[in-house]
Structures are given as C-alpha cells and as structure tokens.
C-alpha cells in the first residue's frame, strides 16, 4: 500500500467507527503526533530524527490526507473526542502527545481533558486560544489572505516551502482535501476555542511549547502567552524557522524535542 506521495507505507487504524490513515516511524517511547493544516509528509526529515528514539504515530485527521471523514464529523469537538478514544485504544499506558499548528489546538484540548494517558505534551506553533483584543487577530486568516502573503508569513525562508509545481497529482489532491477540511473544522471561531484558555491550567504533564522565531501565522508572543497559561510549561524558540520549525529546522527541532522527551 502506498500513500499519496507514492513513498513509504501508510497504515490504517480504526478508532471506533472512524478509520484513519496513520504514518508510523521509528522505535522507542511512543509519540502521538497531531498534524497541522497539512498532513505530515512521510519524507519529512524530522520523522527520521525523532524516530531514532521514539515510535512516531501520526494519524491524518478525518477529512485530511487519505482519512475518510464520516458524515457530520466536522467539529473540533469530534476530533478531540476521536483522539481521546485513540489514546484509550493505543497499546500504551501513556504516550507523549505532540501537536503542530492546528493539531496543537487539538493536543491542548486533549491534554486538558485527559491526564492519565499522556506523560508529556509538546505544542508547536499551536492554534487554539484567543490572546489579543477583539480587533487584533492572533492567527492569520489563511483562507481570506492572499496566497503569497500566507506563504511569506508561513516560512522563515519561503524558498523551503513545498512547491505545488513539483508535486504529483495525488499529493495536490491531498493538499486540497487538507485545505477544505481545515476550513470546515476551523472556520468559526477562527482556529480557537474561546473557552480553552480558562482550562489550560488543568494541563499538569510536563509541557514544551516550541515556536518558530519567524512565525507570521501565529507569532512567538502568542506562544509565550500560551505557555504562560500552562502551569510549569517551558517555552522555546527555534531560530530560522517560521510556522513549521519541524520542517525548516528539523535538526534543531528534533534536538529540542529529544531533550525534552528524554528528560
């Protein structure tokens, strides 16, 4: 079985009645990775780097990648409960939970609700809360902003962005599915839960909040505020990276995550 890119093997995983495409890599302590607006590219270097000491389990959310989306499964509430159920179903007493961007929002929600199946939490350029005043958006509206501007604000070096012209048809279809699904789940309120901020104090596991220094989608100051709401969490910035430090600075990213998880 091949996945959209034609490389690597994508497994399937059933959670209740929902079937997920899952990317697995490496061996070691289990790490559940929740992807952002785009699914994790199986060729991404950070997977191999983390995989040296960790077993990566990276499902595609329903509607993203090659995961089907059941009818009426269309809210963050659904996603959060799906991953709560997945945590119960995994053959590990506890896993480390990592969320990237939109997936960071999901990870924070899951960590608020579930304290017995998670031993560590990593939030990377995460969405999910409202920090600034009502006329200052914290999270760039990627759906209503010109694509060149979204690109500019997503990357420290936009030259590192995936090039649609170099992608296969299947990969582009997946990108479009991801785009539609992200819009469906995150349109309103745009990429945050107004109530989440209040409950972040319930997160009691060791938490690392990692941020790309050049992130123009959600700025490091937002990450700092996010971190301040999670008791005892640690905030770290990765230089030379925008919204995707795991891609732009895979080594520094894997280093920071590795140090945190190995602690």
């Amino acid at each position: 079985m091949t996945n959209a890119s034609g490389s690597a093997v994508a497994e399937r995983l059933s959670v209740g009645e929902v079937e997920l495409e899952v990317l697995r890599r490496g061996a070691g302590r289990p790490v559940l990775v929740l992807h952002g607006l785009q699914t994790v590219d199986p060729r991404a270097r950070f997977l191999d780097l983390l995989g040296r000491t960790a077993e990566i389990i990276a499902p595609s959310h329903p509607g993203f990648g090659l995961s089907p989306r059941p009818a009426d499964f269309e809210t963050v509430y659904d996603l959060v409960h799906l991953y709560l159920e997945l945590l119960e179903a995994l053959p590990y007493e506890k896993v480390a939970l990592m969320g990237l961007s939109f997936g960071g929002w999901l990870a924070a929600e899951v960590a608020v609700k579930c304290r017995h199946r998670i031993d560590k939490l990593v939030l990377v350029d995460a969405f999910g809360i409202k920090v600034s005043d009502r006329e200052t958006p914290d999270i760039l509206d990627v759906f209503n902003t010109s694509p060149p501007e979204v690109l500019r604000r997503s990357w420290h070096d936009a030259g590192r962005a995936p090039d649609p012209n170099a992608m296969s048809d299947d990969e582009l279809v997946v990108r479009a599915r991801n785009w539609d699904a992200a819009c469906l789940y995150g349109w309103h309120p745009y990429m945050y839960n107004p109530q989440l901020k209040r409950w972040l104090r319930r997160i009691t596991v060791p938490t690392l909040v990692l941020w790309g220094a050049s992130d123009g989608i959600v700025k490091p100051s937002y990450g700092r505020a996010y971190s301040a709401l999670i008791p005892g969490s640690r905030f770290e910035v990765i230089e030379g990276a925008g919204h995707h430090p795991e891609i732009e600075q895979a080594d520094a990213f894997a280093g920071a995550v590795g140090r945190f998880l190995g602690r």
Binding site: N144, P147, N165, D180, C183, L184
Partner: protein
C-alpha cells in the same frame, strides 16, 4: 414569456489605476473608493428605472452582492421593500438576499413576508448560492455553503407557509425554537420560489423542488445542460413534467433604435465582465469547498490551467475567468449579450430560446458599468414597447 429588468447597481467610478493595482475588486477593495454622494445618485437613477419598468409593465428583479464595485446591493431586502411600495403593478423578484450568508433565515422570512404584503402579493423569492468573495465579506464558511443554502430555504419556506402558531426548528445549521412570523405572506402558501444555479447537482435539486430555475450568463450549452438536469431529476423522482415557465435565463441586453446603437451602447454592459469580476485567488481558485479536491492539480500549479474540455461543467470561478476577456462579438455569439434594434434583440433571444429548449422568463441585465441613466431608460422603453409584447406571445409549453 415574461421579462424582468435587472440592474446590480455597480460602482464603476473607482480610478482605473486603483482597480488595476488591486488583486481583487471585491471583498477587499477599501470602501473609501465608494463616494456615498455618487452612490446616492446611482440608487436614485436605478430606482427610477425600476419605476419606469413598472409604468411600462416590465417586471423588476433585485439582486444582492457584497462589498465590491460590481454591486452596491449588499442589502437586497431594503431595495425589495422600496420596490414593494413604490411600484404598483409589476412583479418583483428578489434574486435574492444571500441566505447562506444570513445567520437567521426566520428574519429573512419576515422580510419577505412583509414585502409580499406591502406589494399585495407581487413578490417572488429567488435564492442564490453566493460568490466566493462573499464568504469572506460575510464570515460564512464556504465548505458548508450549499448545506446552509438548502436548510435555509426549507426553514424560510416553512416559516412563510406555517399558520398554526410557533413551530420549532433544530436543524444542522440553524436553530430557532419559536417560529411564528407576522405578517404571514399575502400569497398562499408562499410566494413563488426561484433558484439560480448552473451546476448539475444543485440543478437537479431545484428540479425536484419545482422551483423556477434561472441560469445567469451561462451560454447555451451550460444552460441547456442545467435545464436537462432539472428535468431528468424530476422524471427520476416520478414528478410531473414542468413547462418552460419553470426556466429562466439572465443575460446582458440593450435595445437601441438601430443595430449600431444597440451594439455600441450595449457593449458598455461588458464592463461587468471585464472589470468587476476580478477576484483574488483566495476568494476563487483556492476557496475551500468550491471545487472537488480532484480539481487541485489544475488549480494549484502555477502553469496556466488547460482549457476545460468541451462539454465540461465549469466551476463558477472558471466561468468567471472565461468571461473577463470576452468581446462584444463573442458575448453575442455565446448568448450572453442580446443587443441591437428591437427586431435583432427579439431574434437573438429566440435563437437562444430554441438552442436551450425554451424558457419562460428572460432577465435583462440592462444597466451596468458606465451606461447612463438616459441610455438605460431608452432601452427600457424600446424593450417594453417593441420586444416584450412579442415575447409575451410565447406561451409556456411542456418540455420533454
């Protein structure tokens, strides 16, 4: 055949260098470029034109578009309310307040019922799925747009026709626990309903619901295909055949004394296509949910997309791209511009009628761009006196 006069109240008076520099003339163009004094003059002229139609017996049609040079009619129910009171005889089609953008369909039903009562039963209610830039302008999730469209229609229809006290609606997109509108509409069970759509799936649903099906600037092939989907869906559902009265077509139209005048002045209407369709990619090509993911290879690569295969159904965005560079000659050949002297316009309309298998309603997009009030009124007079009586001779027929 019946005819309906339509003017979108475009605002062409933005400096060309501003329009050229903007990536979109809709949704994001700052409203400092819209002078309210000019806007007031435009509204006055256009409403007077609608009233001239009323004097001459031509029905009127009010559209809605948001936040752009293409139209100042962001608040369709306001114009419909004015027309309900100030016209006295013709029928008024709201096409329509954009229901998938409105948070509360019950309020829409109240507005429509009120207009129907004020006009003493002259209102017709049209529904439009909205354009991509309007999702941004109205904070409306584009992915669930079509679901909201149908649910809102269901709720509006029930609110207009239910007479037995409060009912409750707990739908997927709308909840309203206590629906009981006053006044109820004049017409029973409710004003006739229309729907504007070109894609086969929605066309089929329009057919099953028996709504008047209007195609806007789609040309003969797209129009014929949509009408066919409408009829096929009815046949498959075991529903009775409909007449041409269920079908409508909207095109640019201008009638002059001579062909030369008709073409020369009528060509001004193409401003709407050349200038006012410009929409940034985030509101069109990359708008979530607007194309199936399988279309992504065409849409995402920067190489110019290959021309759509003959017979392919164009997305609204692709249709717009096709129209922005059209010439008057091409527009006439494609059946989206009916211009000339009265005989020529009649002939062009009937040629189109024959190509698509007939329709019962012609909507004339009769004023746009820099066309003047005087030019517009001249066309209204000539059309009403010289063309409309001939079109009225064409009676509804059952279509196989």
């Amino acid at each position: 055949m019946d005819a309906w006069w339509q003017c979108e109240v475009p605002y062409p008076f933005v400096p060309p260098d501003v329009l050229n520099a903007a990536d979109s003339v809709r949704a994001s163009l700052p409203n400092r470029y819209c002078d309210p004094k000019i806007a007031a003059d435009l509204f006055e002229e256009v409403i007077d034109e609608f009233l001239l139609c009323d004097d001459l017996g031509m029905n009127v049609l009010a559209v809605e578009h948001h936040a752009g040079v293409n139209s100042l009619l962001g608040a369709n129910p306001l114009l419909v309310g004015i027309l309900a009171r100030q016209t006295r005889q013709v029928r008024i089609l709201s096409l329509g307040t954009l229901i998938s953008l409105r948070k509360d369909p019950v309020r829409v039903a109240e507005e429509y019922a009120t207009a129907d009562v004020i006009s003493r039963g002259r209102l017709e209610i049209g529904f439009v799925k909205s354009g991509g830039s309007e999702m941004a302008s109205n904070n409306a999730n584009p992915v669930t747009n079509v679901e909201r469209y149908w649910e809102a229609i269901d709720l509006i229809k029930k609110a207009l026709s239910h007479q037995d006290g409060p009912f409750s609606w707990e739908g997927k997109h709308f909840t309203h626990r206590h629906v009981n509108i006053w006044p109820r509409p004049w017409q029973k069970p409710h004003p006739r309903m229309w729907s504007a759509t070109g894609d086969p799936e929605t066309a089929a649903e329009v057919g099953r619901r028996g709504m008047v099906h209007v195609l806007v600037l789609r040309g003969p092939e797209g129009t014929k295909r949509a009408y066919a989907a409408h009829r096929k869906a009815r046949a498959e559902a075991g529903l009775p055949k409909v007449t041409t009265d269920n079908f409508a077509y909207a095109a640019f139209a201008y009638v002059g004394d001579t062909d030369e005048e008709g073409v020369r002045v009528g060509s001004k209407l193409l401003w709407f296509l050349h200038t006012s369709l410009k929409s940034a990619p985030q509101y069109s090509r990359f708008l979530p949910g607007s194309s199936p993911p399988q279309a992504a290879p065409q849409l995402y690569r920067t190489a110019p997309p290959a021309a759509a295969a003959p017979g392919a159904v164009l997305t609204a965005g692709q249709n717009a791209a096709r129209l922005t560079s059209i010439t008057a000659e091409q527009a006439m050949a494609q059946g989206i511009l009916f211009v000339g002297n009265p005989d020529s316009v009649y002939r062009q309309v009937m040629e189109f009628y024959d190509k698509v298998g007939g329709f019962g309603h012609l909507s004339l997009v009769g004023r746009s761009g820099f066309m003047t009030h005087a030019e517009s009124e001249k066309s209204i007079r000539l059309f009403s006196k010289e063309v409309l009586p001939r079109l009225r001779e064409i009676k509804p027929v059952t279509v196989d």
